[in-house]
């Protein structure tokens, strides 16, 4: 069981919303309305951990270990949202999302293969870690810089926890886990996709299509792409870091050297072919 050690690791690094954020350092001269809008959107995006946690608990009802971890993951993601909401409440209350705006990103996700969801969220955390590091570099207001820096570290810890569960799944499920992880790795490192490769951009409920992505249910559905391209400038060098984080960790996990996304695609094709003929 991984939960006790992961719990200890996360507990050891836990930060306090009231005392660890240097709220007193706030400098209103270093903030624009555009940036506040971005903070609002990120607060809502973090809130979407709620339906994700509901999906994980439903689709992993047989896995008590992983479900226990999700309780901590959910707590920390909601805390991320709360930190951003608290920032807005203190310094820009006009930008606070309404309860209806928060509730809009809570909707039912269709059932999904558990191993694919696991890998998807590992990749999502790797990406989110880099988005927040990039946002930290972009902002000059000290309090929001500190918040994004803290959130980035939490997301990196979450990525590591998901990776630990992927390693455990590989021992139990072998080929099917390899297939699922490689498939999602290929999807999440596919530079030809136009949209940012993150779970919040995926369609997750056929009955609600096309209104079934988390990003599509934000008050400003076009915001994320604009934020990445025109505001924080999440360019090729950042994208490379995401790809490197995913491919290198999958290399270690799957025991093959994925020097680029093409190598992972080839690996996936080969094991898919082997699985069909077996």
């Amino acid at each position: 069981m991984l939960f006790p050690s992961i719990f200890a690791r996360l507990e050891e690094n836990r930060w306090n919303l009231g005392t660890d954020i240097r709220w007193q350092d706030f400098d209103s001269s270093r903030l624009t309305e555009r940036q506040l809008h971005g903070i609002k959107m990120n607060a809502i995006l973090e809130w979407s951990a709620m339906p994700t946690a509901e999906m994980f608990l439903r689709d992993n009802s047989q896995d008590a270990d992983f479900s226990a971890f999700i309780s901590i993951w959910f707590f920390e993601e909601q805390k991320h949202s709360l930190a951003l909401l608290e920032y807005l409440r203190r310094f820009a209350p006009d930008f606070c999302p309404t309860e209806a705006e928060l509730s809009a990103v809570r909707f039912s996700f269709d059932s999904a293969p558990a191993l694919e969801s696991l890998a998807l969220h590992f990749c999502g955390e790797v990406r989110l870690n880099q988005w927040y590091r990039c946002a930290c570099a972009y902002h000059t207001e000290p309090v929001i810089r500190q918040i994004y820096s803290i959130l980035a570290k939490d997301e990196a810890r979450h990525a590591r926890a998901y990776l630990d569960y992927m390693r455990k799944a590989l021992k139990a499920d072998g080929t099917s886990a390899s297939l699922a992880f490689a498939k999602i790795g290929v999807l999440m490192t596919n530079a030809r996709l136009n949209k940012a490769m993150h779970p919040t951009n995926l369609h997750v409920n056929k009955a609600l299509y096309p209104n079934d992505t988390v990003n599509g249910r934000l008050p400003d559905p076009e915001w994320l792409q604009r934020w990445l391209n025109d505001e924080i400038h999440f360019d090729g060098s950042w994208e490379k870091k995401v790809e490197q984080g995913i491919l290198s960790n999958l290399s270690g996990l799957l025991g093959s050297d994925f020097s680029d996304a093409h190598a992972l695609r080839t690996f996936h094709k080969n094991i898919a072919r082997t699985a069909v003929t077996a």
Partner: protein
């Protein structure tokens, strides 16, 4: 394994350590971003360090600096 905070693989971090051996704490602060990062890799790097470096391996070089 790959350290997200350092943007570097554990193998590359250990390679730096082999080229310029340092005591563990100094290795972490010099060759990684773990101290200012999420800290998830520290235990695994400690295991690698302990399996590869005896006390004498690095103190001699570090003291010589």
């Amino acid at each position: 394994m790959y350290c997200l905070c350092s943007d570097e693989s554990h193998d590359d971090i250990m390679m730096k350590q082999r080229l310029e051996p340092l005591p563990f704490d100094l290795m972490i602060s010099t060759y990684t971003a773990c101290r200012n990062g999420c800290g998830s890799c520290i235990d695994e790097l400690r295991e690698k360090f302990e399996s590869e470096f005896s006390t004498n391996d690095f103190t001699t070089n570090a003291e010589a600096k």
